[in-house]
Symmetry: C2
Subunit: 545 residues, 2 copies
């Protein structure tokens, strides 16, 4: 016998409270589609009337299998539910479900709202009844519930009962401050159920202020709650909301939850979890969190030499779930601690089979170590790692050589008096003994990233002779810069992500005290890697040193 | 009656398993000092003999109030504890305490070690007895304990009993795979105690693979365990270890823990928690996690307009602890959702008092909005925000104006045939109607960051006439670059942190499709902000547009 757990996503509403996050309407529509395909039961789209973006989203509301839900607050005192214009804006969005937040903590009722405790109960009751009368599914978000329960249990309970009696499908217990610890959440949810609110009408809404948002949600489910509210990637006010990207695999893959509950999310959909998480980061221009549970690039990375060699024998030794179930991959990163078994595994990933005990292995390890000391990192620049290894193995063809380059950025007034920038790069390369000079410019008006790195990239890729066709469609899709330390002082590390016409993506690294040199090194590696893989026949080119 | 909880830090050992983390010996010594001042009971310094850095750390071991602990593994089968050279390297470090990891999961004993179950118990027993005979405090890390308990309870228990009987002070239950959920950790710890291992001899070691490392530690304490192992900032293999930076304020400030337990950490020391967390990030060249509980820049940031106005009335309305108790600060960030109360608060932080209802407020909000659409962010660039606001309020003096600049980077062979880079910048400024041309170069040999931004920074700061003395000691201390989106395409956002001779630090932002232009804009703001604050008398300079 499994119980049904309902998943309620509030990425588009509470998630938007994250510092630095502001979704556009098209982004909201795209995210709603992602959530719907994942199998959420409810998608909270925003607060109609509170801001133009949210209103526009509901005007253009996509058709979803999930129940689209509008968020708002209970009616104000002194006006009827029918005549409250804030509430009207919410119901006018026409969604099948509406979630209204209301106070349940006596202190907030008297201090923040400045109304009587009875008036607040009446507001809850009449607002919910108004939704039900309109044929909507009504949800009641009990704000500050846990603090309210601890301060005045009878009053907090009377607020829940008012919503329930008025016909609310769900009463959601919100830990608005994020301060209630899992053991308390468990006990209070159990007490609420004992007091007469059925568990299958109770939801939980937690925040991550003590790093316990996921644990608090699970504790509420353990105690009998049957709806979980959360967000993708744990977006949300302050430290964020409960992270659904973490909760989904726990609920579907891990005991004691997988056997006890079922959700609207199919196991098959979980395989898209890494993609969903990264797509949201892309929309937000955020660097994905490496250490994120299940979906992070490090979540299945085995750095310790002992772990790595055990993993090669049997993955279950150090992995609590199979990474492929959530669309993730096992990683055996390079590092000072990495043993040769790590390295052989990583080389095999790059298609390079090297025998155990081959002296080239320690030569590669030493070279990686030497470069890591200078500030390079190969954890996230697999393409540069492959080139390094091929050079050490004498398996790297010499396609071309750069003799010199020069790049100039000038900012001044143009003939019309407008201040403009001009970037120009000259690159001199030697292809098969033939010298080729290329010049390119990058103008401020370009739709793409413009400036010196773009100019260098264009000049470098302008004329590589017989290799030209192979790199024609390569483009720079991301560019990350960090000041780091290596050798005697600060250096700049540039990681470039490149893409070709077939959607293939690869990452390269460059390090220098000079940001332009570091960028150029990463650009060079990017083109070299593409040339290497573009055509097997190229492997017949003469080997470099 | 409060029980004593012991805190065991493994930042220097398990924390070093983080992808991309490799501490140097001086860094280890510095971190050990931070941990000791914080009040940790145990500091695990590493595995002597496993790598040169760890051995060097113990050779130079700092004097600590905390019990310095060396990590290793139980002796191998077929050799006595006295003759095991791996174990000898560990004990030779001469620390008062030694923690040895050993197997307790039957599958790992037979598969990974390839020895009999009895031999493994014997290895545990003799290794611990060997430590005790040397007068060391012995700790036993029971690897994969929870999985082992579920697979073969009797065997797992016999391993713990062997260690206990041999004289181990602590038996640490390790959830090595990170896959055990808090409810299971609670139940298994309770069962272990029922089976005869005293709770005040039990420790807990969790990983964050399900985002429950903190919750799992608390669940073990709830069940009776009395030692917690964790790391600063949750460093560690895969998704990290239990984060002591989160656990400390929970244990000291929050119920039901604060009243039930005492630790070796003083409440006063917690006020340095943000500093400790940031110092570690600095050592690792990591960008601090904004959403980190308690210590993140967003942990007490109130974005929602409703929250922000309630916070202004009474901070306890939306804060679960006082941010000053952990050395953090309340933040009312700018954003599209921010109301005028947010803005006035933020202006007040910059020393700008603007009356409620002043039309300048909506002018500033609109300007912030317009620039955020272009890719600017003011959440983390308070100095640029202040300049924007002052310009809108007509309170920004015009110190100087840049007429034009040009920067060139050239990479070529020098007269000796060595490939070298040369960066040169020309900046033309107008100070009080007088044109000043400055040229500066940045050489690859510089100890500081070199290259075009450095050259521009030097040229810009070379001759600002009468303002020159005020900016003499300004230096660029961090430089962050992100590709973001604004308007019609990708743009580059640069955030520069600057510092002056008095240790004052401030952040400015620049945005452009051209990385050099974006950097220059942030550099300009950095100098303007310094000039503004350097001398009150400067406020008499003529106001700009």
């Amino acid at each position: 016998m499994t119980a049904r757990l309902y998943l309620y996503d509030t990425t588009l509403r509470d998630g938007q409270q994250t510092q630095g996050v502001q979704f556009s309407t098209p982004e909201k529509i795209r995210i709603a589609g992602m959530l719907d395909r994942l199998g959420m039961d409810y998608i909270e789209g925003g607060w109609p009337g509170a801001n133009p973006t949210d209103s526009a989203f509901f005007d253009a509301a996509p058709a979803t299998r999930a129940t689209l839900t509008a968020f708002g607050m209970t009616k104000r005192a002194g006006v009827s539910a029918e005549n409250d214009d804030v509430l009207a804006a919410v119901t006018n969005a026409g969604t099948p479900a509406v979630c209204l937040v209301g106070k349940t903590h006596d202190f907030h009722v008297t201090t923040a709202l400045g109304i009587s405790l009875d008036d607040n109960v009446d507001n809850i009751s009449r607002s919910v009844a108004h939704l039900v009368a309109q044929g909507r599914e009504a949800l009641f978000d009990a704000e500050h519930f846990f603090d309210g329960w601890k301060a005045n249990r009878a009053y907090a309970l009377s607020c829940l009962q008012a919503a329930l009696t008025a016909g609310a499908r769900w009463i959601v217990l919100c830990d608005t401050n994020g301060g209630t610890l899992p053991v308390e959440i468990h006990d209070i949810v159990a007490e609420v159920i004992s007091a007469g609110i059925p568990g299958d009408r109770l939801g939980i809404h937690t925040h991550n202020d003590t790093a316990n948002a996921v644990a608090g949600s699970l504790a509420a489910v353990d105690a009998g709650a049957r709806q979980i509210q959360g967000t993708l990637n744990g977006l949300g006010e302050r430290c964020g909301n409960a992270n659904l990207v973490t909760l989904l695999p726990i609920l579907l893959l891990k005991e004691p939850y997988a056997s006890a509950y079922e959700t609207g999310v199919a196991k098959e959909a979980l395989k898209g979890l890494v993609t969903v998480s990264r797509q949201l980061d892309d929309i937000l221009n955020r660097v994905p969190t490496k250490q994120a549970p299940f979906v992070g690039a490090s979540a299945f990375a085995h750095k310790a030499g002992l772990h790595a060699s055990a993993i090669l024998k049997d993955p279950t030794t150090y992995e609590h779930v199979d990474p492929s179930l959530v669309g993730n991959e096992r990683v055996i990163p390079m590092s000072n601690q990495a043993g040769q078994s790590n390295l052989r595994r990583r080389l095999a990933d790059a298609g390079l089979e090297v025998e155990k005990g081959d002296p080239a292995l320690s030569a590669i390890l030493n070279e990686v170590k030497r470069r890591e000391d200078q500030g390079y990192t190969y954890d996230s620049a697999q393409a540069s790692f492959e080139l390094l290894a091929r050079r050490a193995l004498g398996q790297m063809p010499r396609f071309f050589e750069v003799e010199r380059y020069r790049v100039t950025v000038e900012r001044r007034k143009d003939e019309t008096g407008t201040v403009r920038s001009y970037s120009e790069a000259v690159v001199v390369v030697d292809v098969d003994g033939e010298k080729r000079l290329s010049v390119a410019e990058s103008l401020e008006t370009s739709e793409q990233d413009s400036g010196p790195v773009d100019a260098l990239s264009r000049a470098l890729a302008k004329d590589l002779g017989k290799y030209q066709d192979l790199i024609a469609e390569v483009r720079l899709v991301d560019f990350k810069v960090r000041i780091t330390h290596g050798g005697t002082g600060a250096v700049t590390r540039v990681i470039i992500d490149s893409e070709d016409g077939q959607g293939q993506r690869w990452s390269t690294v460059g390090v220098s005290a000079n940001i332009i040199d570091a960028s150029f090194e990463a650009l060079l590696d990017a083109l070299s890697w593409k040339l290497l893989h573009a055509h097997a026949a190229l492997l017949d080119a003469p080997a470099a040193d």
